[in-house]
């Protein structure tokens, strides 16, 4: 539906805001551009909307190149972060704006506006001004104003950012339902990973202008391809080291605090890697488990309703987060051995030279 092909964006002589971005967005899907502020996600959205021009590369919508189309010519509509409702117009006039410009007949406009306002549960609010609406209501008007034009793609730039938590959760569900009902392609920008996981069909994680990974929420969470993705989405324990031994799928890794194991393909001995293990996948035992030699000291255990959170510390001071369902047997505080099912750990290629130096120094010290 939307093809972003080799798009670069830079301002003057500064660094790239978006670098070599290739992304296909499918028809009817809810795709989220996720990343921290300044990662290029909003710039990407603005390039699709036509507010910014790519420095190079091109964008297609429905197979048609839109690089030379002005924003007003494009069949996409935007829901702005600040809502951008016209303050001097009523809700009705705001929503009708796009249709009035298209010179649609008056009674037809009235019909459409009424219908769409009912859909976003704002029937009867036609005569109000934006200043007389709550944040959530403004948001709904902004969505209605965009949707009434029946865009091929709806672009949403952190649309829920200004709402309080409870309202945000509610709007997340409503937006998702709306998207399913209308089966319009949504491109959604957010920095909130939980929001991205909840709503998206697919998530595109961006970091410093580079697309790190695209995948379903489960893929992104369970199989992060980079350290950034692993740490940005959800909580994780990241162990950095190098490959000691490869035996088919089984990979043995040396880290500062000992040996750990994971499974993965395409790794070579001595290669720098990181291993990401989610807290809920972590296990511990009072005796060493084959393939693992990492010891930790239990620092703290906290019950959070159904979950028991354990905080342990490695000899080098790194903290390890472990989550178990409450009620499961817990070894007492003190020294524990960490391990996990090899399939539960995600092995990631690493290119952190600084860390390599650090590890090899430690190893050399041991050998002397």
């Amino acid at each position: 539906m939307v093809e972003i092909i080799g798009v670069n964006k830079r301002y003057d002589h500064s660094n790239y805001v978006v670098k070599e971005l290739n992304l296909d967005i499918y028809e009817g899907e809810f795709l989220t551009l996720l990343g921290s502020s300044g990662c290029g996600k909003t710039t990407t959205l603005r390039m699709v909307a036509g507010f910014e021009e790519p420095t190079s590369g091109s964008i297609k919508v429905n197979g048609i190149n839109i690089d030379n189309q002005e924003a007003y010519e494009r069949s996409v509509n935007t829901v702005f972060q600040s809502y951008a409702l016209f303050p001097h117009m009523t809700v009705f006039d705001n929503v009708a704006y796009g249709l009035k410009i298209k010179k649609i007949k008056k009674d037809k406009i009235r019909e459409s506006v009424t219908e769409i306002l009912n859909m976003v549960q704002l029937g009867g609010f036609e005569k109000r001004y934006p200043s007389q609406l709550s944040g959530g209501q403004k948001q709904r008007v902004a969505i209605a104003r965009a949707l009434i034009n029946q865009p091929q793609v709806l672009l949403l730039d952190e649309p829920l950012g200004a709402l309080d938590l409870k309202l945000r959760k509610q709007m997340q569900l409503e937006l998702k339902q709306l998207q399913k009902k209308l089966s319009i392609t949504f491109i959604y920008v957010t920095h909130d990973q939980e929001e991205a996981l909840t709503m998206s069909d697919r998530i595109a994680v961006m970091n410093s202008g580079i697309l790190e990974q695209v995948g379903t929420p489960a893929e992104i969470y369970e199989k992060p391809v980079s350290k950034f993705v692993a740490t940005f989405i959800g909580e994780t324990n990241l162990f950095e080291g190098y490959v000691e031994k490869v035996d088919g799928q089984d990979v043995s890794i040396t880290i500062e605090s000992g040996i750990i194991s994971a499974s993965g393909e395409g790794f070579t001995e001595k290669e720098l890697v990181a291993v990401s293990v989610r807290p809920e996948r972590m296990k511990y035992s009072t005796v060493p488990v084959e393939g693992f030699t990492v010891e930790a000291l239990v620092r703290e255990q906290v019950y959070i309703g159904s979950i028991l959170k354990t905080l342990a510390v490695l000899p080098n001071g790194n903290q390890i987060k472990i989550e178990r369902l409450a009620g499961q047997e817990v070894p007492g505080t003190g020294k524990i051995f960490l391990y996990w099912d090899k399939a539960d750990a995600k092995l990631i290629h690493s290119m952190d030279q600084v860390f390599f130096d650090k590890i090899s120094n430690v190893r050399m010290g041991e050998e002397e």
Binding site: A49, F51, A71, N77, F80, F86, Y97, N149
Partner: protein, 273 residues
């Protein structure tokens, strides 16, 4: 409570105004001395046909000045407000520096520039474009030119404030919904900067009724405004009561305009009130 502000206002505003008000009901004796004998004569004389012609002329000049100021200032204010580079400050100073310079000096500057022996005529003759100096001074047009020149900062500054406040997202939203630039200006930009247009207009129109030295220096007596009438009564005419009556009328018109402005939803703060 009689605070220092109240005293200050009483001394510098209320007392002089009261003085002018009382004066407007006084009469003159044979030696043109003001005597405190109540009369409405001064007001009756204001309906003189010659005076009415000058009021009309004054209103026309003020109106044209306002329209021209608006036409020139709007794009310029837009430019300043939308400039993000270091030139923003320079553009802003271009407006503010003349604003700080004595307007009498600046108006004399125009006279030197436009006079029969002025720079403009000399330059045009030197370039061979004309052979005889053009008669550029002493017309309604030159008076309006001077007025526009003097008062344009009062138009630019409120417009600039209004445009600066305009959320750039609204322009993008308008384009996003299919509006071309011109439509966006008509439907979004102009209505949302109306407060600036409004207060700028009033801040140009009102002083334009009183800046007598502009029509004196550049109009050469051909384009008198209410301000000239008042000035003449206090100076050469030596008829203070009549001058006072004219002043009271001018103040009344000003208050009426401000009231009208307020009634139409104008923001008093942007007038500096």
């Amino acid at each position: 409570m009689v605070g220092p502000v109240t005293l200050w206002l009483a001394f510098f505003v209320a007392v002089p105004l009261l003085y002018v008000f009382v004066m407007s009901f006084c009469s003159l004796d044979q030696n043109y001395n003001v005597v405190f004998a109540f009369t409405l004569d001064n007001y009756a004389r204001l309906a003189d046909v010659n005076y009415i012609a000058i009021y009309m002329q004054s209103l026309l000049i003020a109106f044209l000045t306002t329209v021209i100021c608006l036409g020139l200032a709007y794009p310029f204010a837009f430019l300043i407000a939308r400039t993000v580079s270091k030139y923003k400050g320079v553009l802003y100073m271009l407006v503010v520096i003349p604003f700080w310079t004595n307007s009498l000096i600046r108006i004399y500057g125009w006279r030197t520039f436009l006079g029969a022996n002025g720079w403009l005529n000399n330059a045009l003759i030197a370039l061979g474009i004309i052979s005889e100096p053009l008669d550029l001074l002493f017309s309604k047009a030159t008076t309006i030119l001077g007025m526009v020149y003097c008062l344009i900062p009062y138009m630019v500054l409120p417009l600039y404030t209004a445009i600066e406040k305009l959320d750039k997202n609204l322009l993008e939203a308008s384009a996003d919904l299919g509006a071309k630039k011109l439509t966006t200006y008509r439907k979004i930009v102009i209505p949302l900067t109306a407060s600036g247009i409004f207060s700028g207009s009033i801040m140009v129109f009102i002083p334009c009724l009183g800046l007598f030295f502009v029509s004196d220096i550049l109009g050469g007596g051909n384009s008198d405004i209410i301000g000239n009438l008042i000035e003449r009564q206090f100076q050469s005419g030596n008829n203070w009561p009549l001058g006072s009556a004219l002043s009271i009328i001018l103040i009344a018109v000003t208050l009426l305009l401000v009231k009208l402005y307020q009634k139409c939803g104008g923001d008093m703060e942007s007038l500096g009130v």
